[in-house]
């Protein structure tokens, strides 16, 4: 079949059909992305948290901008080569386009995975720390952290992300409401942990709890419910019969003029449940461990309390909550949330920072963090004096510290980023971060760099690059934790939505351009102008994707 108007323009529109079609499609795309950008503006205006300005490293974004601009040029060059009927050169340019697109996706992948692995914790006093979660290990079922964990890992113990909540459990109650299939994961986790500690979970009758046993119990519950419903219905039916017969009897005896209505009889209709043969409806099964067992749960899987915890599926574990921690390497300390909160309450953020758990709490590294903060304040004030004296900045005070006006952006004042942490750490020369000496510190790596390149490479790539300040946050201090994903805040939500959708457009565009470039020789042989038109249409889509990125880049990386 011959497709109409793919080379020749249609008379009424003056365009070949696919061009009109792609422009209509692009129009819908403009509205799609327009809606999302509008959503971004809305979220930002109404943000009830300090919006993370310039939180994403600029360089990967800039490189990606360059990649897309280059690919835009190569695609338009590919089209012009087709117009000049140079098929080989056309393919070369198409190849470059695909290469740049792949590079774009590569950088995007690195950016995304970095965000996914980066942990943020908001503490009860609104102090935010960011970093990477360390690993804990199990010592006879109990979670251990730090050095002890490292020792066990060397002996081959399993690595567990150190952000669990631990209980010493004696008793578990399984509600039977929900289907067991959907709860297998949770129940098996409990049973597996118990098995590892040589404990069994047995109910009152002495039967060991298994998924099949719970399934049977659930079936018994619903069979009993069904049986009882039928028994109640039949009992009610009989009661009505009796009531109606009594009513008829009263008319016969002349005590009553006419037949009673249903609603008049209803109060007399009663069933005696003790007479009915009702089965026992057991709604839950309570089981005890043969000895107390340490169980750990994901923070999102349990609602905590001192004496018990409720899991997602309603299972209740009874027992003492243990001291559990989030064991982290801190690479940023963010007081912006605290300052934001203090401003709303009308209190002084700097006082609140001094009082925070991180700086004055009862933990080993409070002193270190106090030193970091003092040093940071010193640097902030130094910069502020520089702004006043050297650059004569006199307007737009952002906050005041002990009566002194500060002009730096709040992000610079209230956030200690990783570069600063390293610098302050070197200043104070902390060596003990809770780790063995054989985990080399940044200083040592730097020294070895001076020794020779070989040792540098060996130490840099084999040992952890750098031990950031180490912090064990007790579970009760953690208000909210998440990796830098949509869960953390709306900024990441809209960031992943827009860039993710944009990335999907890149992938789609790559498939189409690859098809045109490397799988369309037949079309070229039949009518080169047809292929040229196809490439032009594909190119239009590609330019549009570039056009979206032109806005994404400043909005997410620079603002």
């Amino acid at each position: 079949m011959e497709l109409p108007y793919i080379v020749e323009p249609r008379k009424d529109t003056g365009l070949f059909n696919s061009k009109l079609a792609i422009w209509l499609f692009l129009a819908s795309e403009v509205m799609l992305f327009g809606g999302l950008f509008s959503g971004y503006v809305f979220l930002r205006i109404y943000a009830d948290f300090p919006w993370p300005e310039r939180a994403i490293p600029v360089l990967p974004g800039l490189i990606n901008t360059v990649m897309l601009i280059l690919s835009s040029v190569t695609v338009v060059f590919a089209w012009s080569e087709l117009k000049l009927r140079n098929y080989r050169k056309f393919q070369v340019y198409m190849g470059f386009t695909l290469f740049f697109a792949a590079a774009f996706l590569g950088f995007k992948y690195v950016e995304y995975t970095t965000k996914f692995s980066h942990q943020a914790v908001k503490m009860s006093d609104n102090v935010v720390v960011e970093g990477h979660v360390d690993y804990a290990a199990l010592d006879h079922g109990k979670l251990v952290y730090g050095k002890d964990a490292k020792k066990l890992h060397k002996e081959g113990a399993e690595k567990i992300k150190a952000k669990k909540i631990e209980y010493k459990v004696e008793e578990v109650t399984f509600p039977l409401r929900f289907r067991m299939e959907s709860r297998k994961k949770i129940i098996n986790k409990i049973l597996k942990q118990a098995k590892a500690q040589d404990a069994k979970l047995v109910d009152e009758s002495g039967t060991e709890i298994t998924i099949d046993y719970l399934k049977e119990a659930r079936k018994a519950l619903y069979d009993a419910k069904k049986k009882n419903a039928i028994a109640r219905r039949d009992g009610l039916r009989d009661a009505w019969k009796v009531a109606k017969a009594e009513d008829a009897q009263r008319i016969e005896d002349g005590k009553q003029a006419e037949k009673s209505k249903g609603w008049q009889l209803a109060p007399q209709v009663k069933i005696d449940e003790s007479v009915l043969d009702l089965a026992n409806e057991t709604a839950s099964i309570t089981a005890k461990f043969t000895k107390p067992v340490y169980l750990h749960f994901g923070r999102n899987d349990i609602r905590e309390s001192e004496e018990f915890g409720i899991l997602r599926d309603g299972t209740v574990v009874k027992g003492k909550q243990q001291k559990s921690y989030m064991d982290m390497h801190i690479d940023a300390v963010d007081f912006q949330y605290l300052a934001f909160d203090a401003k709303q309450k009308g209190s002084d953020p700097f006082e609140a920072i001094e009082k925070s758990w991180l700086l004055s709490g009862d933990h080993k590294y409070a002193k270190h963090f106090k030193e970091y903060w003092d040093k940071h304040l010193e640097v902030v004030l130094h910069h502020n004096h520089g702004l006043q004296d050297r650059f004569k900045v006199e307007q737009n005070v952002t906050t005041t510290y002990k009566g002194e006006k500060l002009y730096l952006p709040l992000r610079e004042i209230f956030r200690i980023n990783w570069q600063s942490l390293i610098a302050y750490d070197e200043h104070y020369g902390h060596e003990d971060h809770g780790y063995n000496k054989d985990y080399s510190t940044f200083n040592e790596v730097e020294k070895s760099r001076k020794k020779n390149v070989e040792t540098f490479i060996r130490e840099y790539f084999q040992a952890p690059k750098r031990v950031f300040p180490h912090l064990k946050i007790p579970s009760k201090e953690v208000h909210f934790e998440s990796s830098l994903t949509p869960k953390w805040n709306n900024f990441y939500a809209i960031y992943f939505t827009i860039t993710g959708l944009h990335g999907l457009h890149i992938i789609g565009g790559m498939v189409v351009l690859w098809w045109f470039g490397f799988n369309s020789r037949k079309i070229y042989d039949k009518d080169p102008e047809w292929l040229a038109n196809r490439v032009e249409v594909g190119g239009l889509f590609w330019h549009f994707v570039d056009l979206v990125w032109i806005f994404v880049f400043p909005i997410f990386y620079l603002m």
Partner: protein, 123 residues
């Protein structure tokens, strides 16, 4: 539309110029954003990011988008119907949808939460 071989070759020169223009403007956008770090008093508005920086950044981005649309997407010689389709959607997408956000800004949606008695303050 550049159709003859000569016209296409001439157009390719333009594409290259636009390429360098776009790369240069990208760099300028980044430099403008980093002004506070190398010369704070040149930073328009507040030190650091503020509305003025936003307007400059978006103005440059809009000009870049214009270059891509006008030259690469051949809007410099296109049929009238395409202008109608594209700019129509722009009006809808940006003016219309942003307008809804702006409307919410002037006439905010206020929600006091579900607490009926004393306001619950976080500690």
């Amino acid at each position: 539309m550049a159709d003859g071989p000569e016209a296409i070759k001439a157009a390719r020169n333009t594409y290259l110029k636009v390429l360098f223009g776009l790369l240069g403007l990208s760099l300028v956008t980044v430099l403008v954003a980093w002004i506070p770090f190398w010369h704070p008093s040149w930073d328009p508005g507040k030190v650091g990011f503020d509305q003025v920086d936003m307007i400059i950044g978006l103005a440059i981005a809009t000009f870049k988008a214009f270059l891509v649309g006008y030259i690469f997407m051949h809007l410099n010689h296109e049929k009238k119907s395409i202008y109608w389709i594209f700019f129509g959607s722009m009006v809808m997408g940006f003016v219309g949808l942003m307008g809804i956000t702006a409307l919410a800004f002037w006439d905010p949606i206020v929600f006091d939460g579900f607490n009926l008695g004393e306001p619950i303050l976080k500690k």
